[in-house]
């Protein structure tokens, strides 16, 4: 008896919830968007060969979309991506849709919605490099992905990869010339390839100035990406170990590094200085920001859109490097003109090819460059 009526309530709840949700939806969403009915079934089939999938010639990009895993105002990877996309769109006079904070989970719902709305998709996270081309193929929309140069596909997929190792090399030179203690700290929140590349570049740059320089390298901890507290702790530990310049790579956690540096004097009682990556934290700096390896995606994005319009997209990848100016070192008042001039010289030799900076992507390669605390002084 009793259980019977309970069953009723359960199923009625189910039906009720659906009906009311439905009617609510009809009421609110009567301005139905016809675009929703696109995405024909045959696109569900595996990606067609590239040559047939090329978009029609008249496809001119009117709207672009950028998908970023974290907040678009993080003074780092996400902000640089979003700002660059906006700048590129402004330059070309087109629309931009920004989708940030998307995380690293199942990205396909957002990808499909944006693929439906925009003519060109920038999937601004290495974690999106599998899903984005798949959805792009489904919707016959060109997508841009990162850190996956081999995925090139005519009309559909191209990659933009930075060579931040060159910029980091300059940062290493700067750090080595700035340090008083001869010890540099590198704090990272994880070991993705682009950060490995910067860590190694930084190490090589520093050693080019002083081969005996000590490099202290540490990953923050188990919950690293937003772990500002852990970043603060590890940074202080490295300062205690003697580092007076910290090269920090981490999203939310990089703010923890900055605050540790502001709070903690170096072993000699002087300031510890911070070298950031990707973004520009000048506006929130309190006089500790020595520099930053800036990444600017704008020219890459502009080139991509132009190639899409020209029908040549997918025939080449897009590079961020010192040469085209999309990787640069931030000049702050803490850098003396003399040191800056030396750095400019190194930069010139990298650009003209006389100095080649090795690009190391794997963790083992990074670790082999670092000093061990157990080594003698």
């Amino acid at each position: 008896m009793k259980s019977q009526s309970k069953k009723w309530i359960r199923w009625a709840q189910f039906a009720g919830a659906l009906t009311v949700l439905g009617s609510f939806a009809v009421a609110c969403g009567s301005s139905s968007n016809t675009a929703d009915t696109t995405a024909p079934a045959e696109t569900a089939a595996p990606a067609a060969p590239a040559e047939t999938a090329a978009p029609a010639a008249e496809a001119i990009v009117k709207t672009i979309a950028i998908l970023a895993p974290e907040a678009g105002n993080d003074f780092g990877w996400n902000q640089q991506g979003v700002d660059s996309a906006k700048a590129a769109a402004a330059e070309l006079g087109i629309e931009v849709i920004v989708a940030d904070n998307l995380g690293y989970g199942d990205i396909t719902p957002n990808l499909r919605e944006l693929a439906d709305q925009a003519d060109f998709i920038i999937a601004h996270a290495s974690g999106y490099n599998t899903a984005a081309p798949e959805v792009g193929a489904e919707f016959k929309k060109p997508v841009a992905i990162v850190d996956t140069p081999d995925a090139l596909k005519a009309g559909l997929v191209a990659d933009y990869t930075a060579s931040p190792n060159e910029g980091a090399y300059l940062a290493g030179v700067l750090a080595a010339k700035t340090t008083r203690s001869g010890k540099l700290g590198i704090v990272v929140s994880g070991e993705p390839p682009s950060w490995n590349s910067q860590s190694a570049g930084f190490a090589d740059g520093a050693k080019s100035v002083d081969p005996k320089i000590k490099l202290l390298y540490s990953i923050i901890g188990p919950a690293a990406y937003a772990d500002a507290e852990g970043a603060n702790r590890v940074t202080k530990t490295l300062i205690a170990a003697g580092a007076d310049v910290i090269f920090g790579q981490g999203d939310g956690s990089s703010f923890g590094m900055l605050s540790a540096i502001e709070e903690t004097p170096a072993a000699d009682g002087g300031k510890v200085l911070f070298i950031d990556v990707i973004g520009n934290k000048t506006s929130i700096d309190k006089g500790f920001l020595l520099s930053s390896v800036l990444w600017d995606f704008k020219s890459a994005f502009v080139d991509m859109i132009k190639d899409v319009n020209a029908g040549t997209y997918g025939s080449r990848n897009y590079a961020l490097n010192l040469k085209n100016g999309s990787i640069s070192l931030l000049k702050t008042p803490l850098i003396t003109d003399a040191v800056w001039a030396e750095i400019e010289a190194v930069k010139a030799s990298i650009i003209n090819g006389s100095l080649v900076v090795e690009n190391v992507m794997d963790a083992a390669g990074v670790r082999s460059r670092m000093s061990k605390t157990t080594e003698g002084k």
């Binding site: 907040a71 105002n73 993080d74 003074f75 010890k183 070991e191 000590k214 202290l216 390298y217 540490s218 990953i219 901890g221 188990p222 919950a223 937003a226 772990d227 500002a228 507290e229 852990g230 970043a231 603060n232 702790r233 590890v234 202080k236 530990t237 300062i239 205690a240 170990a241 003697g242 939310g252 956690s253 703010f255 923890g256 900055l258 605050s259 540790a260 502001e262 709070e263 072993a267 506006s283 929130i284 309190k286 963790a363 670790r367 670092m370 000093s371 061990k372 605390t373 157990t374 080594e375 003698g376 002084k377």
Partner: protein, 311 residues
């Protein structure tokens, strides 16, 4: 000890471990109280995060670490009111409400931070450590353990205080009775709802303090999701010590130390994949659990709502 393993470096490792452990001690203590009173507080993470944000705002506004701790504690307490109303008074499912609190707090703090502070990322006032005379002069471990902001020592004091309350006071007896045999408490003239309310509010307060400690002493600023699962860790630690709250000090500091150990191992160049190193703190807990935590005791009425007329 040659090379970079200098005394300063080691005491910094120790000190970092202590600072990482203190929030777990605060929050774990809170959880221990509410579990003792029969309320499984899965919303601890949300209360810590709320406390972290409240502490951040308070410290910025009043330019004072102490006001920050105060407002952080209060924020935690206010969030715990949800638990009080829904779980203690209205007998809702404690797991559901706990997870709801955590999700809600994550959403709200991230929204507010994004709207107000994301352009400036303001840093809270720098904390000034207080070196305990004599103790802080002990070589190597002295500065690591005994040179901290007073709120770190306060955690230890609070643990001893709560331990004393549970053991030697009427309210302590009532808390234990509320978790083990609430009807007996009621029959003896105590109010189960009243005691559970007090306990959950204390949990909110302590979780809030723990959260604000992360921001004020640990990180120096707030970023979204800064607690990073520490609330769940604190729940685990609280269950691990099984009501003997003084062990929380050991558990919290040991866990913090194991985090520092991961840093030390890296700097020592131990060539083990980083993921295995970072697994250490959690494996440690399982090992401790296996070694000491057998037949772990949990209050009989844990997570069960109390209804006076139903037995």
């Amino acid at each position: 000890m040659n090379g970079l393993f200098s005394e300063v470096f080691i005491s910094s490792l120790v000190s970092g471990g202590v600072i990482a452990g203190i929030p777990l001690i605060y929050a774990g203590l809170g959880e221990a109280i509410s579990e003792r009173a029969g309320v499984l507080n899965v919303g601890l993470e949300g209360m810590m995060l709320g406390g972290a944000y409240g502490g951040f705002v308070g410290a910025l506004h009043f330019h004072s670490t102490w006001f920050g701790l105060l407002s952080g504690g209060l924020t935690g307490m206010i969030i715990s009111l949800f638990m009080v109303v829904l779980c203690v008074r209205l007998n809702s499912n404690q797991i559901v409400v706990g997870i709801a609190i955590t999700l809600g707090a994550e959403g709200v703090t991230a929204l507010l931070h994004g709207a107000i502070y994301a352009d400036t990322y303001p840093r809270v006032p720098v904390v000034h450590p207080y070196a305990i005379p004599f103790l802080s002069n002990i070589p190597i471990i002295g500065p690591g353990f005994f040179n901290h902001h007073i709120s770190a020592y306060l955690a230890v004091v609070v643990v001893f205080f709560v331990s004393w309350v549970l053991k030697s006071t009427g309210i302590g007896l009532s808390i234990k009775a509320a978790g083990d045999q609430p009807h007996a408490l009621e029959a003896a003239g105590g109010g189960v709802h009243r005691i559970r309310t007090i306990s959950v509010l204390s949990t909110g307060l302590l979780a809030g303090l723990g959260g604000s400690f992360i921001v004020l002493v640990g990180a120096g600023l707030f970023v979204p999701f800064i607690t990073n699962g520490k609330g769940f860790l604190a729940i685990v630690l609280a269950m691990l010590v099984r009501g003997r709250v003084r062990w929380l000090i050991v558990a919290g500091v040991l866990f913090g130390m194991s985090l520092s150990l991961t840093t030390a191992l890296q700097l020592a160049g131990i060539d083990v994949p980083i993921d295995l190193v970072l697994m250490l703190p959690f494996v440690l807990i399982i090992v401790v659990l296996f070694a000491f935590g057998r037949r772990s005791y949990l209050p009989a009425a844990l997570a069960l709502p109390y209804d006076r007329e139903q037995r």
